[in-house]
């Protein structure tokens, strides 16, 4: 019997729980040679801003033990060019496309949510709140429950589409962040974004990254991500998308046991461009081999 892999997140019906993570899959087109987009549950665009962003100077990435740091600086084409150049491609794909976006002020977030809400090809919105709030001295929205509440409230008022809030792991209390976003009307939570880290070039006595610090991703962060997904899943009733170091189907299933309804594959796509599809296929195989008829029966099924 073919196991049922379908899940529903915030009103989005996904053929399976495997999504690609923002910033690691371009705008979908780049991977067309390696991933049949119609074999995965959904894909998430590179983070979008109101105006095009240059991003940071290079070096922007560096490998670390079991992971990598990136300081891309949210380079993106901006919402206008996105609509003009990238959206047409989305029309040809029968897989939900989710737009990831960010702003520097609450107004920018709301404005983007409004613009994205109007694009029929966009099935859902993912708000990246790991960005500095320029009006409040640069404190990162996603590290303060009140800031997060405000930004999510503003987005919620601006869109009727499924609204996913992507949480930063650089916090003392991930549960209070999750609750603030739930209270503000989020339909789902995705976590984790990258952990802030740093790498040093000993010979040159300089940080490797031009930006000094960057975001850590990849297998190294998986234990932290699993822990946070588990904590949030027990405390908040919203569906959760688990992210962080997922390299194969087993990793993905671990996140589902911890309480995630779906997962996102990030860094793994760099190492194996077909990773997302292989993970979806591997999950199906594992379920079949283990006599699990419906992946939904595994969500939060951890005995702890």
């Amino acid at each position: 019997m073919k196991p049922d892999l379908s899940v529903s997140i915030a009103g989005l019906e996904l053929r399976n729980p495997v999504m690609t993570a923002s910033g690691t899959f371009g705008y979908g087109e780049e991977f067309a040679e390696y991933v049949d987009l119609e074999t995965i549950g959904a894909f998430v665009t590179k983070g979008l801003s109101l105006r095009p962003r240059a991003g940071n100077p290079t070096p922007r990435i560096v490998e670390t033990p079991g992971g990598m740091l990136n300081a891309i600086g949210l380079q993106n084409v901006g919402i206008d060019a996105f609509i003009e150049k990238k959206v047409p491609f989305l029309r040809s794909v029968a897989t939900p496309a989710i737009a990831n976006f960010f702003g520097n002020t609450i107004d920018e977030y709301a404005e983007l949510a409004r613009r994205l809400d109007a694009i029929p090809e966009i099935a859902g919105l993912e708000v990246n709140i790991s960005c500095p709030n320029v009006k409040q001295g640069g404190i990162v929205f996603g590290t303060d429950p009140q800031c997060a509440f405000q930004v999510v409230t503003a987005c919620r008022e601006a869109t009727i589409k499924p609204l996913i809030v992507k949480l930063s792991p650089n916090v003392t209390d991930i549960v209070s962040m999750a609750k603030a976003c739930a209270d503000a009307g989020a339909d789902a939570l995705s976590l984790i974004n990258t952990l802030t880290g740093m790498a040093i070039d000993l010979e040159r006595r300089r940080p490797v990254l031009a930006n000094i610090t960057g975001g850590l991703s990849g297998p190294a962060v998986k234990p932290v991500a699993l822990r946070m997904v588990w904590q949030v899943a027990r405390a908040v009733s919203l569906p959760i998308i688990g992210i962080g170091g997922i390299m194969n189907a087993r990793d993905a299933l671990e996140f589902i046991l911890a309480g995630a309804t779906a997962v996102q594959v990030g860094t793994a796509s760099f190492i194996n461009p077909g990773a997302a599809q292989e993970i979806a296929e591997g999950m199906e195989k594992w379920l079949a081999e283990n006599g699990v008829e419906d992946v939904k029966s595994l969500i939060g099924a951890l005995e702890a």
Binding site: K46, P52, A54, I271
Partner: protein, 272 residues
């Protein structure tokens, strides 16, 4: 293309420099000179990311034995600088590697009328051999190759065998002229008939100098760049380099992996 490749040979050609021949799918020999591959060093997470290498050569090996299938191959020329290249150098024939490629945009060969000038520094020579192989089919080709010492000047015989005229310069004078390869280049440009076309690959300082020399003389010049890469296919935006008109207000970052690694030097921003 993503494929499992079997190592055919892996030989140290000069202290610290290795040449690896490995099997490739039948479409692979159509790779353009200047394109590259991303190699996964092993199946573990250390090292985590793939490593980018130029394509030194491609071809098809036809076994002497009649009846045996002919085998397309690719070659890389690499320098051991860190963990990934160190592990590569420890591999043996019959070991397997996961390879992605050919990736990126290669060199535009230009027209048969022009003299072709290739400038290479150290392991920057890697993507230039396949280029020379194509260019000699239609034009006279001169190679200007530099290195710190004699050991950093690689595979000259191979280029000479193609009929390429080779000028060598080393910083310590241990082989060829003592000094920078750009000095020999400038002298050649002074006496060269018509407008030649320059192709360069090597350390960034050398490329910067070559781009300046070409710009001053209005000579078309293509350069092949390096950059820290995660994906190799335009998705992560890790490897970018600023375009000529780049500024913070009018951002113009190009992906080394997808828009390059070969660029027209005039498209890029250079240090003065």
């Amino acid at each position: 293309m993503q494929f499992k490749s079997m190592i055919i040979s892996n030989v140290e050609v000069s202290p610290g420099y290795w040449r690896m021949r490995m099997t490739a799918p039948s479409e692979f020999p159509a790779a353009q000179p200047g394109q590259f591959v991303m190699v996964r060093v092993n199946d573990a997470i250390d090292p985590l990311l793939r490593r980018p290498f130029g394509i030194f050569d491609v071809g098809v090996h036809t076994p002497a034995q009649t009846g045996a299938a002919s085998q397309p191959y690719l070659e890389m020329l690499y320098r051991v600088v860190g963990k990934g290249t160190g592990m590569l150098s420890a591999l043996h024939d019959t070991d397997l590697l996961d390879v992605l490629g050919p990736l990126g945009k290669g060199f535009e060969l230009g027209s048969p009328k022009e003299e072709k000038i290739i400038v290479g520094g150290g392991v920057g020579l890697a993507p230039l051999y396949l280029l020379a192989k194509e260019l000699v089919k239609q034009s006279p080709v001169r190679l200007f190759v530099g290195g710190r010492t004699r050991d950093d000047v690689l595979c000259i015989t191979e280029f000479e065998r193609l009929g390429v005229e080779c000028y060598v310069a080393t910083e310590d004078g241990s082989l060829g002229e003592c000094g920078l390869v750009t000095e020999a280049l400038v002298r050649r440009l002074a006496v060269c008939d018509g407008t030649p076309r320059i192709f360069a690959c090597g350390p960034h300082g050398m490329l910067n100098a070559v781009a300046g020399i070409a710009a001053q003389r209005n000579i078309p010049c293509q350069v092949s760049l390096e950059g820290y890469m995660a994906c190799g296919m335009g998705a992560c935006l890790g490897c970018v380099t600023p375009g000529h008109h780049h500024s913070n207000e009018t951002p113009d970052y190009r992906c080394v992996c997808a828009d390059g690694p070969v660029f027209d030097a005039a498209e890029l921003k250079w240090e003065a």
